[in-house]
Amino acid sequence: MTDIAQPLTTADGKPLKSALLRAQSRARRRAFLLVLPLLAFILITFVFPIGQMLYKSVYNEGFTWQEDVTTGERTPIMTNLAAWFDANPPGTEPDEAAYAALAADLVVLRELKAPGQAGTRINYEISGSRSMFTKAARSAEKLEPPYKEALLELDKDWGNPDLWQAMRGASSSYTLNFYLAAIDRERNASGDIVMVPENRQVYVKLFTRTLTLSLLITFLTFVLAYPIAHLLATLPLRHSNLLMILVLLPFWTSLLVRTTSWMVLLQSQGVVNDALVGMGLLGDENRLQMMYNRTGTVIAMTHILLPFMVLPLYSVMRLINPSYVRAARSLGATSWTAFRRIYFPQTVPGIGAGALLVFILAVGYYITPALVGGADGQLISNLIAFHMQKSLNWSLAAALAALLLAGVLALYWLYDKLVGIDNLKLG
């Protein structure tokens, strides 16, 4: 009757596949509608802002477009200078034509009341240049050729080749210069990528410090959490519940309260120092400096992130049947061998999950280092916040954050390669 080579059909001759699709489409539509609110929420509050931020790190129109706040009208600025940069390769000594283009653009800036905006953009890279722009724009209409002499007479810094390199970079809205700045690099007068002067090298140092401190904190939480998690997993439920509450207690306390309690404990007139001095272990004149430096950051963050290590470890250890260790013991292993070869390997997924969680939280931690870190204990996130709130160089903040994000993603990828994300057990 039926030909085997033919695609299967339903009883009334329609293709089976399309019939199946139709039958399932209703359920699928309903499922989609159910997740739609969450999808929209994630898109609006997560994907879109992160995309915006990443975009800001490579796009800055401070030196290319002016937008009228009231009318929303957008006008290109610095067009003459951009044309000159296009025509001349990097490293060309700015000639009269270049200065003439600059002068013409300054006139436009004055008309649009935008010299501050353009100056700020250049000021990110050459400090003090904002005032040069506002000053030059004020007298732009009175400038006479030769423009080079005229501008240099206003401020001899207009001849600075670094300034011209900065303007060249800013003359295009799309730039990677913020990423260069985020890794302590810049372009010199001839357009080559070089290290910034030593006194301005901060970001690489901070990235390194963030990385090492996070690793240290991850290691410390692991050392502290492993025995606790084991105890939690092996105690009878009655006792382990109480202990679990103690582990979770910090979650119910405000982060700020926890951090400030550490300040009370650790500062030089604080509880710990007073106790040590009181017991005569420490002279009053050499009280320990445990606050407003790295030590403070490490102690407070280790405490705050500890539960994130305990919980994944606990959830993995709870599922390890005690008969494994017993079997190992009966097979002739000492308790140390049984731990090392049988118990520990089975807790690795928990260690991986906990370490990943703590490390990722630690690299982006902000409030605790800001409060207890002092100058020495600041992390990269504190600098990102500084550029967002104080210097208002959002593009640089975005570039720093994007590097941090890339680092975390790379770590995640590495973890997947080495251990496998499937093995991750978060609880």
Binding site: S323, R329, S330, L331, A333, S335, P345, Q346
Partner: protein, 366 residues
């Protein structure tokens, strides 16, 4: 079979007691002697103390009082890894992060046995349980029965003289379980190892063991070979626990010529073999196996006491017939008859008379 004198005792429990909380005893005054090469099963309901005994022998629990000896040496203070006892766990406890071969290598590695010798031993042990091809697999890739075999091979690979098994077949289906029962006994006999086997499955206990220790309430109720256990239960707990059993309650009227006459609670008299009753007037619980009850009068001894019975239910079970009767006010009286060509099928509602040989009817403690 092995002779049992205290000289060749291989495993000994001497007045062993165990308490977890200091208030109740889980194991009460346990005395047990096992010769080398014996297959002994500890049988009992859950909470009867049998697993605790096994754990004390393995070294995972310490005896609260008394002494456990292995081959004449007290082992109370020897840690588990120095006892050299092989153990098979209920859930197999194969190390999930190691291959089968690595699992078997583990006890040899911790004993610092060289690589070539190790491999030869692993190969031999795996072939012994017919798992030779599976050395490279992980435990999760094996079926329950295969894991069971590997667990057995791992407990045997370092050639222990004593092997403990804690309900090793509990998770298998019936057919596989029967096959494994046979294989475990065969291996134990071939290798000449001593086995202590814990189970709550009485069929397993009866088919596998040289001797069975029936545990209840922390005490060994009876320690005997399977046939003795089934046919001559020492008390009413053992009679109830092993096999199917009919119980009638009554009072001893008189005991003479090795026969006790018992008056049942409804006034009828029956002949019994006195086991733990000694004098007239004692309360007793009488136990009769369903297959030893006879309703064909011609097969009964003349003058034997009989009881009136009413047939309540007839169940056809293929090889046997199972008939439920009302006897002396007991609605749960079961008789079993073989499905033979001349066998009578009793109809519900029929009034019959039943009897038995006095030695099949045991007057036990009330």
């Amino acid at each position: 079979m092995t002779t049992r004198t205290s000289n060749d005792a291989f495993v000994e429990f001497e007045r062993v007691q165990k308490s977890y909380d200091g208030e109740t005893l889980v194991v009460k005054d346990l005395n047990l002697t096992m010769p080398k090469g014996e297959f002994l099963t500890m049988l009992g309901p859950s909470g009867s103390g049998k697993t605790t005994c096994l754990m004390m022998l393995a070294g995972f629990e310490t005896a609260t009082h008394g002494e456990i000896k292995l081959d004449g040496q007290p082992i109370n203070n020897i840690p588990p890894h120095k006892r050299g006892i092989g153990m098979v766990f209920q859930n197999y406890a194969l190390f999930p992060h190691m291959t089968i071969a690595e699992n078997l290598a583990f006890p040899l590695e911790v004993r610092k046995i060289g690589k070539s010798e190790r491999e030869a031993k692993i190969k031999r042990a795996l072939e012994m349980v017919e798992m030779g091809r599976f050395g490279g697999r992980r435990p999760a890739q094996l079926s329950g029965g295969q894991q069971q075999r590997v667990a057995l091979a791992r407990a045997l690979v370092f050639e222990p003289e004593l092997v403990l098994m804690d309900e090793p077949l509990g998770a298998l289906d019936k057919q596989l379980r029967e096959k494994m029962q046979f294989e475990i006994t065969r291996l134990a006999h071939d290798l000449g190892i001593t086995v202590v086997y814990v189970t709550h499955d009485q069929t397993e206990a009866l088919t596998m063991s040289d001797r069975v220790a029936v545990f209840n309430d922390g005490v060994i109720q009876q320690l005997a070979p399977p046939d003795e256990l089934y046919e001559q239960p020492a008390n009413s707990f053992v009679a109830q626990f092993i096999g199917e059993n009919n119980t009638l309650e009554g009072e001893v009227k008189e005991i003479r010529d090795g026969i006790a006459v018992v008056q049942l609670d409804d006034g009828e008299l029956i002949d019994c073999k006195p086991i733990n009753v000694s004098k007239p007037g004692e309360r007793t619980r009488v136990s009769i196996r369903p297959e030893r009850v006879e309703f064909n009068k011609s097969r009964l001894k003349p003058g034997a006491h009989t009881l009136k019975a009413e047939v309540l239910e007839f169940i056809y079970m293929g090889d046997i017939f199972r008939t439920r009767l009302r006897v002396a006010g007991n609605d749960e009286f079961i008789i079993k008859t073989r499905n033979a060509p001349d066998q009578v099928r009793l109809e519900p509602g029929a009034q019959i008379e039943i009897g038995w040989l006095p030695e099949d009817c045991r007057a036990l403690d009330a």
